[in-house]
């Protein structure tokens, strides 16, 4: 029983981080119709900034302060997003998709090099937070308490985002802009402002994913690309542009990956891509996506 619970928690842990990344990707696509390939390295940026602040810059500071500063990586990713959207990406919204993919792929590469330039090729860690909360006993095994914090943050982020999109004034404006940008503008909505806000929130989510995972695994070069690929599997399954889809996709990928590691580790990733391929064939817009 204990081992099943541990697998379940591992699935939720993985799904929580994936939801933060894929949810941000989906939010940005839903509003601006741009597939932001740079999203993966905004997740990595969140991890690097939090790891550097907690693991290097403020080493020895009280634990409470370090916990409060953990989201600093998310703030950094959000700030980068708030600068990138109006200065660079906005010019490409009306261009064909291949231009958008090229520019965001270029950004992905530039961010990767920027991370290498600033923090070098070695992993950065913020494991002090992971160690500080110890482990709990589940059956005969020990399970890291910090993982439960990550799961809780993922759940709270999903609930907060749902409430934000469906229960606030800004959420209504955001959904209106995503459905018909031209009409929203004609009704008085400052669409450019909505774009910056949506992009910043999306980047914040990616950065938060990186920030909360970095105490349990180091920030390393290439982590953004790996995360991006899995985030794409999530949004293909759930439906690009749908937050519900991002949540469902993250849970499916989380559970399948965990089952794969336990039951068929050699083909764990292949099974994920197979599921994505089946969804693409059977329902090209994803489980929660709406056909164009």
């Amino acid at each position: 029983m204990g081992i099943v619970l541990i697998h379940l928690l591992n699935s939720l842990l993985y799904a929580s981080v994936l939801f933060l990344i894929a949810g941000g990707l989906s939010l940005i696509y839903g509003v601006m119709r741009i597939v932001n390939l740079a999203h993966g390295n905004l997740y990595a940026l969140g991890a690097y900034v939090s790891a550097w602040v907690i693991g290097q810059w403020l080493t020895g500071a009280p634990l409470g302060v370090l916990y409060l500063l953990l989201p600093v990586g998310a703030v950094a990713a959000a700030l980068v997003g708030a600068v990138l959207e109006p200065t660079l990406l906005r010019r490409f919204y009306k261009r064909p998709e291949e231009y958008q993919l090229l520019i965001t792929f270029g950004l992905l590469m530039i961010l990767e090099d920027a991370l290498r330039l600033v923090w070098g090729p070695y992993p950065l860690s913020a494991s002090v937070l992971w160690e500080s909360v110890g482990s709990i006993s589940i059956g005969d095994s020990l399970y890291p308490t910090y993982n439960l914090i990550v799961i809780a943050v993922g759940g709270i982020a999903a609930a907060f985002l749902w409430a934000f999109v469906y229960r606030t004034k800004f959420g209504v404006v955001l959904r209106a802009t995503s459905q018909d940008m031209r009409m929203a503008a004609a009704l008085g909505v400052d669409v450019n402002r909505v774009y910056i806000q949506a992009f910043t929130i999306g980047c914040f989510m990616a950065g938060l994913g990186g920030a909360i995972i970095v105490p349990s695994q180091s920030a390393v070069l290439g982590m953004g690309v790996d995360a991006l690929i899995l985030a794409f599997v999530v949004v293909v399954i759930g439906g690009l542009g749908s937050l519900e889809g991002a949540l469902a996709g993250a849970l499916i990928v989380g559970f399948v990956r965990e089952a794969g590691i336990a039951l068929f580790p050699e083909i764990e990733l292949a099974v994920l891509y197979l599921i994505a391929a089946i969804v693409l064939l059977a329902r090209p817009a994803g489980l929660f996506g709406r056909p164009a």
């Binding site: 004034k169 404006v173 209106a176 459905q179 018909d180 503008a185 009704l187 669409v191």
Partner: protein, 236 residues
Amino acid sequence: MLELDGVNTFRGPAQILRGVSLRVGDGEAVCLVGRNGAGKTTTIDSIMGLLPVRSGRVVFRGHDITRLPPHRRARHGIGYAPEDAGIFPDLTVAENFEITRWLAGGERAGAAAAGIDERIAAVFPEVSSFLTRRGLHLSGGQKKMVAIARAMALSPAILLLDEPFEGLAPVVVSRFIDAVKRIKAMGISVLIAESNLVNAMRVADRLYAIDRGEIIFHGDPREAFANAEVMKTLRG
């Protein structure tokens, strides 16, 4: 209230409007009549800022708004109901209203926020019965009603209605014409793009006829009926 002065507008490389000049006075209902493709929607889009004006001027309440973005024009008091109604499909009717109501309550508080619901109810009382329905599930006539009522929620000084009677049954057209008259009675100016001259005559104080992007007639609607050349052009 609203004035277009020598407006030239392009869609891509094609010039659609050629020196269009027109005027809508305070509390006036003006129709812009023309066949499909004559330039009616392009004129409305140019006023709303949805298409850039290549040359010429759009003046609203004495201010040159030619280079203003659409949202600034809306907030200055230009209401807009497009030909396809432009209802947000996944939003409820109430949420469709809330967007303009918030903007009216924010930037144009005071006169704007007060009495909006009463004015909407006076024009289309039936809208209150489907407030919780999503835009996706409205009929064509309901969508057009919501589009006009939503534009009213911004408390505009002028309403731009693009083909508001198109696709409606004759009895419903009469209902909409009555609604436009009520809007006008509230002191709101109305500019209607319309392809049916008979409908235009029922509602317009003055009429402009447009063909191939040029204004070919301007005056009393009855004069347009009496002008054989205009009638021939409008009927094709």
